[in-house]
Symmetry: C2
Subunit: 416 residues, 2 copies
């Protein structure tokens, strides 16, 4: 094989036709897509993708977690493989691009290699991960981070995970076998729509992802005293909502200190929640994300001090209870550099940014070197029928993926 990295380009029409074709499965009247994991639509889409893989002589298998693994063998099939991929399940009213785009761009990269009768040194895998929008059971099985409790994976509709996995060709009892060894995979690169407004607002074509942010989630409760809103003088109140309002602003202040973190109170419940009663109890969520765990720890420390001050000043009790803790997953610098080089070669402008949403790549980072590529989302919208990335933008991202995989093929940092 003798590839100049700027020579090979994907077939843009074929890519966009594939995206449009897959979006027919589970198509909603509003233009959106409903292709919930394990549903008939999901199964139909899985079958189509496997058919497409086989048409280009990929070796296709479904592992115990239902992940579809299409392999395009390299010249040295025993060397650790390069991998790309994403998911094809959607939220109940999703769009055409979230997940599906990454899978189909990976497929398109192989199509171009195959029709040019090119092989990389390493085998190239395109992986379709199971249930990204729900449990992320597919990528977690590959990283070996499955929780050994089938009830944990029971679906919201009550279906047990055994039944679900059997539907898609997996097996709960054998799920440990889905785990991949670090020796099998040299690197994983996921291409995805941004699902946020940063690239569009900056006028950038490509996002080089620095990592997937860590996420901590807490329940904050404020205990005051419920009292008659007429007969209780201001100075005799312990108003839980007045305290909670200060908490919301403290969280927002933490979010706005220098750094790339985001901090959000998205959910709030007031009790007894009547116009003529001073609130006695407020519950709210706190969601805090950043690429650095140390930075999150430092922000939380500041916040706790602030919450104590608010509790004293408002004569309330405030507690902060953790309910989710995901560590950040950093992208390897050499993969970021390969993506950036690909952008330069393709004359696409790019920026570095963190991914503040979860992706299967964060699980793959547990067992191999990880990188991610983003393309813009119109208005930052995702998980909605109006989710949109233009055909041109889809082509640009897929070319960056192809070029990046080709560059990584000869990357010295990779495991051999």
């Amino acid at each position: 094989m003798n590839l100049t990295t700027t020579q090979l380009l994907i077939n843009g029409d074929r890519l966009n036709q594939s995206i449009a074709r897959l979006a027919q499965i589970g198509k909603l009247d509003n233009g959106g897509v409903k292709r919930i994991a394990y549903s008939q639509e999901d199964i139909e889409a899985r079958n189509l993708v496997q058919q497409w893989m086989r048409e280009i002589q990929m070796q296709v298998r479904v592992d115990a977690a239902g992940n579809i693994i299409g392999r395009y063998p390299g010249k040295y099939p025993d060397a650790p493989a390069l991998a790309t991929g994403s998911h094809i399940d959607t939220v109940p009213c999703g769009g055409h691009y979230d997940g599906a785009y990454g899978v189909l761009a990976g497929l398109e990269a192989v199509r171009v290699l195959q029709e040019n009768r090119l092989k990389l040194d390493r085998s190239l895998e395109v992986i379709v991960f199971t249930d990204e929008e729900g449990s992320m059971i597919g990528s977690k099985a590959i990283s070996g981070r499955i929780i050994n409790d089938s009830d944990y994976y029971r679906r919201p509709d009550g279906t047990d995970i055994q039944t679900c996995l059997t539907r898609v060709g997996g097996s709960w009892n054998n799920i440990a076998q889905a785990r991949r060894s670090p020796n099998e995979l040299a690197a994983f690169v996921e291409l995805h729509v941004e699902q946020g407004p940063v690239l569009e607002s900056m006028g950038k074509q490509i996002g080089v992802i620095e990592g997937i942010v860590g996420q901590r989630r807490f329940n904050i409760t404020v205990k005051g005293s419920a009292n008659h809103a007429g007969t209780t003088p201001m100075q005799m109140r312990c108003d839980a909502l007045v305290a909670a309002a200060q908490v919301v602003l403290a969280v927002n202040q933490i979010g706005n200190t220098p750094g790339q973190q985001v901090a959000t109170v998205g959910k709030m419940k007031v009790l007894p929640n009547a116009a003529n009663v001073v609130p006695g109890w407020v519950e709210m969520s706190l969601d805090l994300r950043d690429l650095s765990s140390l930075h999150i720890d430092s922000l939380l420390k500041q916040l706790r001090i602030h919450l104590e001050e608010i509790a004293v000043a408002t004569d309330t009790q405030i507690s902060l209870n953790p309910c989710l803790h995901n560590e950040p997953a950093l992208a390897e610098p050499y993969i970021q550099q390969a993506i950036a080089r690909s952008c330069k070669n393709l004359q696409l402008n790019y920026t570095y940014l963190p991914s503040r949403a979860s992706h299967d790549a964060q699980e793959l980072a547990q067992i191999t070197d990880m990188g991610m590529i983003f393309v813009p989302s119109k208005m930052g919208v995702s998980h909605d029928a109006s989710e949109y990335t233009s055909p041109e933008q889809c082509i640009q991202g897929a070319n960056v993926l192809l070029q990046t995989l080709i560059q990584l093929n000869s990357e010295k940092s990779l495991k051999s």
Copy 2:
């Protein structure tokens, strides 16, 4: 008749026994009372009170609004009468004192006069008002402020007002006849438990009410933009809850400016209310009360300016929509003075304060001179089984009522 004002005292045991007896009707397992207007329990209680009135030779009638009017004729029965009274209906889980205490203390005052064969110059009326805890239809019919729309008075359970009033001896079709002329009533004095913590916290035995506060209620809506809490950077958000938190604090600040006003956000709804979504919409209540309408207007003007500043700073839209407007009802200074003199004569300590809850007296103030007397509520609690005013405190308040009525009997400010 020749009464020295400090001579006559009520029979405390008889008063407290009456309170305990009435509390048997609708008694709940938790010690509370359920005697909802027009219910079988309400009717039973009405019958008992009428029986008690008749036993002391009061002239009893039920008007078209179902109000029970017991009249103890004076020496000059054609002169405008003095009146007292309150209500005997309760909230679904009420206590022994709210309303019932004022009715039974009025009855006790007449009992004392009657057993001492004393007549006032003016007739003395004890009025039991219909449905104070709901529509206040009884006192509103007397003041002539009934809304001419029977649907408005339909009960939460769907029962129409015609049926309800018929049950208690009234008649919707004739309700206009319940209106009293200012020439019939010289003054109205209502004795009530405070339902708030002020008297207890100040260590005062009696509250001399300056008036019943005006109340304005508003819906405040904040429109921002719902966005993914992960992928939307802080500086690109229009977070409706961050704006709403500032509104809550602005309302609290208005409440804490010098004055006797109270200002409360008691109710809040956040949309979409999910931990991982920046809130796009918040609705909340504003309840604002003060004795002076001008003062309320001035506070609202300050608040509107503040809300505009918040909307600009947070890039949201904030609107303030009125949904309730009750004007204040002021107590006549000469009645306040008569109450204060009675306290001094009885060696009870007292303070002046506004009533920040609604009472039938606010309607009576529309047609005659009004005054109110408060006794302490333990911990400020009302509308609950734990509502409590001690037997001693009940006796003190009833003696103040009796003495006040006796003083008003010879008050020169009164209509003759």
